[in-house]
C-alpha cells in the first residue's frame, strides 16, 4: 500500500483520478487478502508430523510405513527428519533440540538405552492413557522392550524394532577346515587361528569387533563381564566387580595379542566391522542384526557364505549378548500430540514390524513374527534369533547413561589401544563410575 501511495505524494493529482486510484488500491488489498486466505487454508486443514529417524536405519523403508499411515489418515502428512548415522550423534542432536524445548519434532526414534533419560527429563509424553492398561498392552512385545520402555510407571515410548549382537561367521571357511560353529570364545580363537594359518592372507582378520570410543564398545566390554555372571548397575546403584572388569578387558586385548583380532581394534567402529566382513576380510564378526541384509546383498563379497549364530560363551559360562533396538516416542513439545500418538501406535504395530523385517532385516518386536513363514524366506535365521533376543541383556538403566557409557567406552578403548593396562583401566572405570552413580 505504501509503495502505491508514495509516488503520488507531492504530485498534484486531479480529484477524480485520486478516487480511481484509491479504488484500485482497495481492490488490490482485497485480492491479496483472498490469496492469503487461500494459501493458509490447506495449512489449517492438514497437520504435518515431523518424525526424527536415523539416516542409517533404512529411511526409505520407514517412508513406506509413513505412506501407509498417510493413506489411512487423510489430513495428516508425515515428514521425516534424518538424524546422524550413529546413536551418539542422534542423541547429541536430540539433547540440543529438546533442552531448548523446540517444537519442530513430533515423533522421535530412540535407542533402547535412552528411555530412562527421557523419563527423567520429561522429553516424551507418557503414553499410559493411550494404550488402555499398559501392563496388558505391553505383553504383546518381547519382554526386554516392555521393560525398557516402562520407567518408574511411565510408558515412555513404544517398541519399533528389536536388535541384538550376533556372531556372523564365514560358512564356507568353516566348512573348508571342517570346523563347527564355535560355542566358546576359546574355540573361536582356536578356529580363527587355524583358518588364518591355512589361508596365508595377512589381510584376513580372525574376529572383528568394536573398540573405538563409541557406544558399541560399551557392549564389547559388557559381553565377557556379563558372561562371568556379573552386573554393573542394579536399581540405580553401582555393582561394579573389579576383578571381572580386569578379566573382560584382558580377554579382548588377549585376542589382539594372539593376532585373532586386528591390532587397530581401537579404531574399529560398528560399520567398519560390517564393511570388513562384507569385503571378506574377517572370518568372524560381532555385529548387530542390520548386517545380514547387507552381507546378503548382490554386491557383497560374502553373499551366501554367511552364517549367523548366538555369540560364544566364556568357557564354563553362559551365552550372553547385548540388546539393542529402537523405540518410538512422542515429543513433549510437539504441537500435535494426539496425532503423533496415533502415528506412534501405528508404527509400533504388527504390520509395520513385518514391513521393517521384510524390507530392511530389522528384527520384529513381536515374538510371534519370528516363526512367520513368509518372513522366514527373507531371514532364514529368524527362528534362531528369537531365543537370542529373548535372553539378551540391557545395558545399565539409569538417567545418567551417557556418563556411564562414556566412562566404559573410553577406558575400554584405552586398553585395546594398549595405552593403558587392564588393571589401570578397571580402577579408572570404578573411580569414575562412582562419581556418576553416587
Amino acid at each position: 500500500m505504501i509503495a502505491l501511495t508514495v509516488p503520488a505524494a507531492g504530485i498534484p493529482i486531479p480529484r477524480n483520478n485520486q478516487t480511481q486510484r484509491k479504488l484500485h488500491v482497495i481492490r488490490l488489498v482485497r485480492l491479496l487478502i483472498a490469496l492469503g486466505v487461500l494459501a493458509a487454508l490447506p495449512a489449517h486443514a492438514e497437520t504435518t508430523l515431523n518424525v526424527f529417524i536415523s539416516s542409517a536405519l533404512r529411511p526409505e523403508v520407514m517412508r513406506q510405513a509413513f505412506d501407509q499411515f498417510e493413506q489411512a489418515n487423510p489430513g495428516i502428512k508425515v515428514t521425516a527428519q534424518l538424524g546422524g548415522a550413529t546413536s551418539d550423534l542422534q542423541a547429541q542432536y536430540l539433547n540440543t533440540v529438546l533442552s531448548a524445548k523446540d517444537s519442530s519434532l513430533d515423533v522421535l526414534m530412540l535407542d533402547i538405552i535412552r528411555p530412562a533419560q527421557f523419563a527423567a527429563t520429561g522429553w516424551t509424553v507418557p503414553l499410559n492413557q493411550d494404550v488402555g492398561n499398559p501392563a496388558t498392552f505391553l505383553k504383546q512385545y518381547l519382554p526386554a522392550y516392555a521393560d525398557a520402555d516402562m520407567v518408574d510407571g511411565k510408558l515412555v515410548a513404544l517398541p519399533a524394532f528389536a536388535d541384538a549382537m550376533f556372531l556372523y561367521y564365514r560358512k564356507d571357511l568353516l566348512a573348508k577346515y571342517h570346523l563347527a560353529v564355535p560355542q566358546t570364545w576359546d574355540d573361536l580363537a582356536k578356529e580363527a587361528r587355524t583358518i588364518q594359518a591355512g589361508e596365508h592372507d595377512p589381510q584376513l582378520q580372525g574376529l572383528s569387533f568394536q573398540g573405538a570410543p563409541i557406544e558399541g564398545t560399551v557392549c564389547t566390554f559388557l559381553l565377557p563381564y556379563w558372561g562371568m555372571g556379573k552386573t554393573l548397575v542394579q536399581n540405580g546403584h553401582l555393582t561394579f566387580d573389579r576383578a571381572a572388569a580386569v578379566k573382560s578387558l584382558e580377554f579382548w586385548s588377549g585376542l589382539i595379542k594372539q593376532g585373532v583380532a586386528p591390532r587397530n581394534a581401537a579404531e574399529i567402529v560398528t560399520d567398519q566391522t560390517r564393511k570388513d566382513f562384507e569385503a571378506g576380510k574377517a572370518i568372524f564378526a560381532v555385529e548387530w542384526g542390520y548386517g545380514w541384509n547387507m552381507f546378503q546383498a548382490a554386491d557383497s563379497t560374502v553373499k551366501d557364505k554367511v552364517g549367523v549364530a548366538e555369540l560364544p560363551a566364556l568357557t564354563g559360562g553362559k551365552h550372553v549378548t547385548c540388546i539393542g533396538g529402537w523405540q518410538w516416542g512422542v515429543s513433549a513439545y510437539s504441537k500435535h500430540k494426539a496425532d503423533a500418538v496415533k502415528l506412534v501406535k501405528f508404527l509400533s504395530s504388527v504390520p509395520v514390524s513385518t514391513l521393517l523385517a521384510q524390507q530392511a532385516s530389522l528384527l520384529p518386536v513381536f515374538p510371534g513374527l519370528y516363526h512367520d513363514p513368509q518372513l522366514g524366506q527373507t531371514m532364514p535365521w529368524l527362528p534362531q534369533a528369537l531365543p537370542v533376543v529373548e535372553q539378551a541383556r540391557s545395558r545399565p538403566v539409569t538417567p545418567y547413561y551417557n556418563d556411564v557409557s562414556n566412562v566404559i567406552r573410553t577406558q575400554t578403548n584405552a586398553v585395546l589401544a594398549g595405552s593403558e593396562s587392564a588393571d589401570q583401566a578397571a580402577s579408572q572405570m570404578e573411580a569414575r563410575l562412582r562419581r556418576v552413580l553416587h
Binding site: 551418539d88 542423541a91 547429541q92 539433547n95 540440543t96 533442552s99 533419560q117 523419563a119 527423567a120 527429563t121 520429561g122 573405538a212 570410543p213 563409541i214 591390532r263 587397530n264 581401537a266 579404531e267 538417567p399 545418567y400 551417557n402 556418563d403 562414556n406 573410553t410 577406558q411 578403548n413 584405552a414 585395546l416 589401544a417 594398549g418 595405552s419 593403558e420 583401566a425 569414575r432
Partner: protein, 296 residues
C-alpha cells in the same frame, strides 16, 4: 538539512555520541554481556537435566569438583600443549609460505589460491580428512611410510602418536591463515628499504633478519594472538579425528565442555568449565589489547 545537525551540536557532542553508540551498546549487551552473565550464574547452579530435578544454587561447588576432576586437568593440559606446539609451528610454516607467496611469480593466483584453500575448509572436514590420512589400514601416511619401514604405525593406538597426528593436522589447517596475515604485512614493507640494504652490502639473510622481521612484527603479533585464541578453543579436529581417544588422551577443554553439556546434560558443571576457558581466553585477549596499544 543543516538545521537538525545544528540542533544536535547544541545538545553537545557527548549527547550525540551517546545516541549514536546506543544501538551498538544495546547489541553488545544482548549478545555478549547477557550470555556471559547467564553463564556465570549457571556455573553456580546444580543443574543437571538428567537428574530431573529443578536447578539449585550451590555456590562454588562446581568449581570445587572441577579442581578434583582428573579429566578436567587432562583436558586442560592437552589444550595448553596443543597451543604451545601448534602456535610456534604454524608461525614458522606460515612465515615460510608467506615468503614464497610474496616472490614475484608471473602468475600469482595459483599460489594465492593454494594458500586460501586450507583456510577456507571447515574444521570438521579437515579433522575427518586427517583421520583418514593417519588411518592405519587405508591412510596415505602409512602408505608412504610403508616404503621405509616394515611394520605399520597405528597412530591412534598411542596417546602421543595420536596427539602428534592431531597437531600436524592443525598446523596444516591453520598455517595458511598465518601466511595470509603475514603476506599482507610483507606487502606493506617498502621495496626501497631492501634496495637501500642491498646497496649497503646486506645479503638475503641479513635483509630478512634486519628489514623483513622487524617490520613484520605487528603482523606476527596479530597472527600469534589470533592463533592462540583459536587453539585454546580446539574442538572440531580432535573430535572428528580421534573422538578424544585412545582413552581420554586427546580430549581438549572445549571437547570436555561439549561432552558435559550436550552428552551428559550437566549444564551447571559444563558452565563452570566454560567459565575457566572464558577466563583463559580473556587473559590472552587482554595481553593482545595491551600489545596493540603499545604498538600504537
Amino acid at each position: 538539512m543543516s538545521k537538525p545537525s545544528l540542533r544536535w551540536r547544541d545538545a553537545g557532542d557527548a549527547a550525540l555520541a551517546r545516541v549514536l553508540l546506543a544501538p551498538t551498546f544495546l547489541l553488545l549487551l544482548l549478545i555478549v554481556v547477557y550470555p556471559v552473565c547467564r553463564l556465570l550464574w549457571t556455573s553456580l547452579l546444580d543443574l543437571s537435566l538428567s537428574s530431573g530435578m529443578p536447578a539449585r544454587f550451590v555456590g562454588v561447588d562446581n568449581y570445587v569438583s572441577l579442581a578434583t576432576d582428573p579429566e578436567f586437568w587432562t583436558a586442560l593440559a592437552n589444550t595448553l600443549l596443543i597451543t604451545l606446539i601448534t602456535v610456534p609451528a604454524t608461525l614458522l610454516v606460515g612465515l615460510a609460505l608467506a615468503l614464497i607467496a610474496n616472490l614475484p611469480f608471473r602468475i600469482r593466483w595459483p599460489v594465492r589460491l593454494s594458500l586460501l584453500l586450507p583456510w577456507a575448509m571447515p574444521l570438521a572436514f579437515v579433522g575427518m580428512i586427517g583421520g583418514w590420512f593417519f588411518q592405519s589400514d587405508y591412510g596415505v601416511v602409512n602408505d608412504i611410510l610403508r616404503h621405509f619401514r616394515s611394520t605399520r604405525i597405528i597412530w591412534f593406538n598411542s596417546g602421543w602418536l595420536a596427539f602428534i597426528a592431531i597437531c600436524l593436522t592443525i598446523i596444516w589447517k591453520t598455517s595458511s591463515f598465518v601466511a595470509l596475515v603475514l603476506l599482507a604485512g610483507l606487502q606493506t614493507i617498502p621495496q626501497e628499504l631492501y634496495e637501500a640494504a642491498s646497496v649497503d652490502g646486506a645479503g638475503p639473510l641479513r635483509r630478512f633478519l634486519f628489514v623483513t622481521l622487524p617490520l613484520l612484527r605487528p603482523a606476527i603479533a596479530v597472527a600469534v594472538i589470533f592463533r592462540m585464541i583459536t587453539s585454546l578453543q580446539t574442538f572440531d579436529i580432535p573430535l572428528t579425528m580421534t573422538r578424544g581417544g585412545p582413552g581420554t588422551s586427546t580430549v581438549t577443554l572445549a571437547m570436555y565442555i561439549h561432552q558435559n553439556t550436550v552428552d551428559f546434560l550437566d549444564l551447571g558443571y559444563g558452565a563452570a568449565l566454560a567459565v575457566v576457558l572464558f577466563f583463559i581466553s580473556m587473559a590472552v585477549t587482554a595481553f593482545y589489547l595491551r600489545q596493540v596499544r603499545a604498538e600504537a
